[in-house]
């Protein structure tokens, strides 16, 4: 498994919300989904996943419900709540703004006379 992208601090919540926004998932599936969406370039530490889920549920952003898994076992499925959906949109927007700014800053190159453009 490739691990060439490190998880940035504070992005796990956004990733979980995004993963769940595509459909109800149990904990393990969240892990797999993020991995899959990243094209196997990102791996989530399994130990950090559950505290993040508990916290999101505590904040009312996701909702856990017990259901049946593919292999007919009882599993807890998480869905996005209305608040979670709002949060996802906001976070996404913030992330995009941030990425844009970062992009601009990082794309700045040294001008021939030695001053920034």
């Amino acid at each position: 498994m490739g691990k060439d992208v490190e998880l940035l601090q504070g992005t796990l919540n956004l990733l979980i919300l995004k993963a769940i926004s595509l459909g109800p998932l149990h904990g393990y599936a969240v892990l797999l989904r993020i991995q899959q969406l990243s094209g196997d370039r990102m791996e989530i530490q399994q130990g950090t996943l559950y505290p993040a889920l508990y916290r999101l549920e505590h904040l009312g952003l996701i909702k856990g419900q017990w259901g049946e898994s593919d292999n007919n076992r009882r599993a807890k499925f998480y869905t996005l709540s209305a608040a979670g959906r709002r949060q996802l949109t906001q976070e996404k927007r913030r992330w995009e703004a941030m990425a844009e700014v970062m992009g601009i800053i990082l794309a700045t190159e040294k001008a021939p006379n030695g001053e920034a453009l």
Binding site: Y28, Y50, P51, H58
Partner: protein, 890 residues
């Protein structure tokens, strides 16, 4: 993000713990098996896949803990753990914990209780609303600075007075005597009449039924025939019968209905019964007007405002006012002189209260510090295994708070118990029905101080030792040789404690000697062994002066016949307080025009019965009493004030306001008394007659057979406890005269002295301060003892080594003592200096007493000896230790 979901998960984590744990475990389990299945699908052996999946999620995965941490309960969990750890620690050191907690709770409890008592008894005396803003109507004559001249107002003056801008409200009170006809017995009732607004002014609810109310009418209104009983009257005349409401009440040939009974603390005007002003039967009432100042207005400002008004009134009624005067409205509370005396010393009481609290806190702090110092090793160990400084400090914080709050909780309970104790132990110690409530501000203050002190001194060692040189401390523990340093704060605290205790001991000593002084105050008469009995009869039984004279003589003769009775006399008031004053003039001395003196009517045996010595002239004899001659003796104070230069003997005194024929059907005047004049035949020594704390009033003792009422008050001297005789005496009178009405007074003359406000206040102060000092003494000794014992216990190993190396036991003993003697002596010296500095203030407490010096000496000796004993005992025990045992104590 909704609050609801957070609350749900917090509540779930508390109340559905088991279910939550199961669910979290199941989720984890599902994850592991799903992962294992994936790994297996990738070609791994099932067992290996299972192991790997488990390892990936983390072998230490504790779902519940993680969950609680995720939802923000980590701090709570750790704190609960700290509390549990703290409680376990306290439980292991039961003695330490008990003393620390007890010290705090005694400090808090005693302080709060005592302050509440003092507040109730000395500060919050009157039950009337806003009594601190209410002023007595008094004018001041600069020539007689100590006299208060109460002024009265007629109706129009009252209306004008009431409209003064300084006053929020004014109510008027008038009084009259009414004949009561009940059970065939005649009695003069003291009736106080109140204006319609009095109830709204004072706002004191009735004990039974209703009080007077506005609808009962003012002067001139049609009076409803209602009467409200005073508490004392209700107790003596109706034996506190609760069914008295609605009954008839015959007084002054009118029929009234009893509508209520006032509570014990309501003693306005000292009335037997209260009636509305509409009942006033004389043409024009003269009112005593009590005024409530507007908030922010001082008595001085109000006096200045009404002064011109009163001078106008004085022109209308010149006889009511002194010639020269100015208005000096006096706050109601200042009228209670013993109280103002106590208030003057109130800082001392605060000092005593504060000292006790500080000693309690210091005790607790001492123990916390001593314990903290010995926990260096524990702190080091915890630091070594990764505890942060913050974590250790926080844990100590929790422990200290646990002690502080346990102490406070017990202290609150103690305060409630202790505040009631004095009332239960000695009910007669208190003025009237003192309502003792726990004073909330002082309770909060004490608890706050206790908590702050606990934190401060508990945290000191934690802050100091939570970053120790780990290796050094851990090694040092193997051979804990020399006592740890840093004992200076401990020693300072012990010193402060001892100093405060000494101050408290001296303060209480001063109060006690003040009380002793009051007890030994020469009264001028001998109250011991004297009882008082009032005997009355229906006025028709003996109508003429001769018949009444015969009755009095018969009663007296009957009582003298009782075995054990040594003297019997008639009197019309009871020392140490007395009746009002009477204007008089010395005939033939124009300069002595209308001066006031106390006038009291007594039988010739009065002076022998009370043991008042005759100084000049003579007392009228039995034969002269039998003729009802208008003779009198005066006291020394009278001579000093009115006739210092020439003999008063054989001079004639006239009472210009006395009307000899005013109430012929009640009072019969002797044939020998034609003019309102008496002749002075002797001078007797002074006897206290205006309360214990005031000088003896000039008094004219008049032969009481000159005018006779249908009934007399008898004072009986007996050879034993006079109260044992009252039944026999009452029985003897009834045998002689079945129609008589006999009322033994509830208190002997000696008890009357003890019921004096000055006496009771001083005794209360002495008792309270003695309790304070005793508690402080015990607390600081226990504190000293336990700290020395604790420190010595920590040094057991050291002593073992010293002994093993050949030290003598005496040397060990001296080693411990040497460390503590300077502290004991230093603390005592500081206390001594403080006491001496404050001595000028104690002097009010022990007027005219030289005992405080001796008491200071005794207190110092007692404290030093006790403190040295408290240090010596643990040291002695340490010196007896077996070296082998000591070395094994690690």
């Amino acid at each position: 993000m909704s609050m609801a979901s957070r609350v749900r998960s917090w509540v779930g984590s508390v109340f559905r713990r088991r279910k939550l744990a199961d669910e979290l475990a199941e989720e984890m389990h599902f994850h592991v098996s799903a992962r294992a299945a994936d790994l297996e699908a990738g070609g791994m052996a099932p067992a290996e896949a299972q192991r790997r999946a488990q390892a990936e999620i983390g072998s230490t995965a504790r779902p519940v803990e993680q969950y609680r941490e995720a939802i923000g309960l980590r701090l709570l969990d750790e704190t609960v753990g700290d509390v549990r750890y703290g409680l376990r620690g306290l439980w292991r050191n039961k003695g330490f914990a008990a003393i620390a907690i007890l010290s705090l709770s005694l400090g808090i409890g005693a302080t709060t209780a005592m302050f509440s008592i003092v507040y109730a008894v000395l500060l919050d005396i009157y039950p009337y609303a806003d009594s601190q803003r209410t002023v007595n109507p008094i004018v001041h004559d600069p020539a007689v600075p100590d006299d208060w001249n109460w002024f009265v107002l007629n109706r129009s003056q009252y209306a004008e007075y009431k409209s003064a801008r300084s006053f929020e409200d004014v109510f008027g009170q008038a009084s009259m005597g009414v004949q009561m006809d009940e059970n065939d017995v005649q009695e003069q009732l003291h009736v106080v009449l109140l204006t319609a607004n009095a109830a709204g002014f004072n706002r004191v609810g009735p004990l039974l039924g209703r009080g007077l109310q506005a609808s009962d009418g003012d002067f001139g209104d049609t009076p409803p025939n209602v009467v409200v009983l005073g508490y004392k009257f209700w107790k003596t005349h109706y034996l506190a019968d609760k069914g008295v409401i609605g009954r008839d009440f015959k007084a002054g040939s009118k029929l009234f209905r009893i509508v209520g009974v006032m509570p014990e603390r309501y003693t306005l005007g000292g009335a037997d019964v209260y009636m509305p002003m509409s009942q006033y039967t004389f043409p024009e009432p003269y009112l005593i007007a009590f005024a409530k100042l507007k908030p922010g207005v001082t008595a001085k400002q109000a006096s200045d405002e009404v002064d011109p008004m009163l001078h106008l009134f004085a022109k209308q009624d010149p006889r009511m006012y002194p010639e020269n005067f100015h208005a000096r409205l006096q706050p109601l509370l200042d009228g209670f002189t013993t109280r103002s005396k106590v208030l003057k010393n109130f800082p001392m009481l605060y000092l005593a209260v504060g000292s006790l609290l500080l000693i309690g806190c210091a005790n607790c702090s001492l123990l916390l510090m001593a314990r903290g110092t010995t926990r260096k090793h524990e702190f080091a160990l915890r630091t070594a295994v990764g505890a942060s400084q913050l974590r250790i400090v926080r844990q100590m914080l929790v422990e200290c708070l646990t002690i502080a709050f346990l102490g406070s909780a017990i202290g609150v309970v103690l305060a409630y118990v202790l505040a009631r104790l004095p009332l239960q132990l000695a009910n007669d110690l208190f003025p009237s029905e003192a309502v003792i409530r726990i004073n909330l501000p002082i309770l909060l203050f004490s608890v706050g101080l206790a908590v702050v002190a606990g934190l401060l001194f508990g945290l000191l060692p934690a802050l100091k030792f939570s970053r120790p040189e780990i290796s050094q401390v851990l090694q040092a523990n193997a051979r804990r040789t020399v006592a740890s340093g840093g004992r200076r704060p401990l020693q300072v605290l012990i010193g402060v404690q001892l100093a405060l205790t000494l101050v408290l001991l001296t303060v209480s000593g001063a109060a006690i000697s003040g009380f002793v002084h009051l007890m030994r105050l020469p009264l001028g008469y001998q109250p011991r062994g004297v009882a008082a009995i009032s005997v009355g009869y229906k006025k028709d039984v003996a109508k003429t002066w001769q018949e009444r004279l015969a009755k009095v003589a018969a009663y007296r003769h009957q009582m003298e016949g009782v075995r054990g009775v040594t003297a019997v006399t008639t009197a019309d008031d009871l020392p140490p307080s007395g009746n009002g004053t009477q204007p008089f003039e010395v005939v033939g001395n124009a300069a002595m025009h209308e001066t006031l003196a106390r006038q009291t009517d007594v039988g010739p045996e009065y002076f022998r019965t009370l043991g008042i010595p005759l100084l000049q002239g003579r007392v009228w004899n039995a034969a002269e009493a039998g003729q009802g001659l208008p003779l009198a003796v005066v006291n020394e104070a009278f001579v000093r004030k009115f006739s210092p230069d020439r003999s008063v003997l054989d001079r004639t005194l006239r009472f210009p306001k006395l009307e000899l024929t005013k109430t012929p059907e009640a009072e019969t005047v002797s044939p020998a008394w034609q003019k309102p004049e008496v002749q002075v035949v002797g001078v007797v020594a002074d006897a206290v007659n205006d309360g214990l704390d005031k000088p003896v009033m000039p008094t004219i003792y008049v032969n009481d057979t000159a005018a006779l009422w249908p009934g007399s008050l008898f004072l009986i001297r007996t050879a034993d406890d006079p109260k044992l005789f009252t039944r026999t005496l009452a029985h003897a009178i009834r045998q002689l005269d079945a129609g008589s009405y006999v009322t033994p007074l509830p208190y002997s003359l000696e008890e009357m002295v003890q019921r004096e406000p000055a006496y009771r206040t001083q005794r209360l102060l002495a008792v309270l301060l003695a309790i304070f000092a005793g508690l402080a003494f015990a607390l600081s000794l226990v504190g000293l003892y336990s700290v020395v014992a604790y420190v010595v216990a920590q040094r057991t190993a050291e002593f073992g080594i010293r002994l093993a190396l050949g030290a003598q036991r005496m040397q060990i003993l001296l080693l411990v003592l040497r460390g503590n003697i300077p502290v004991v002596l230093g603390g005592t010296c500081a206390g001594l200096v403080l006491s001496l500095a404050l001595r000028t203030r104690f002097q009010h407490w022990s007027e005219g007493s030289s005992q405080s010096v001796w008491f200071l000496f005794t207190a110092v000796t007692l404290l030093v000896v006790a403190a040295l004993l408290a240090t010596w005992y643990p040291a002695f025990r340490a010196s007896r230790v077996q070296p082998s045992t000591a070395l094994r104590t690690e």
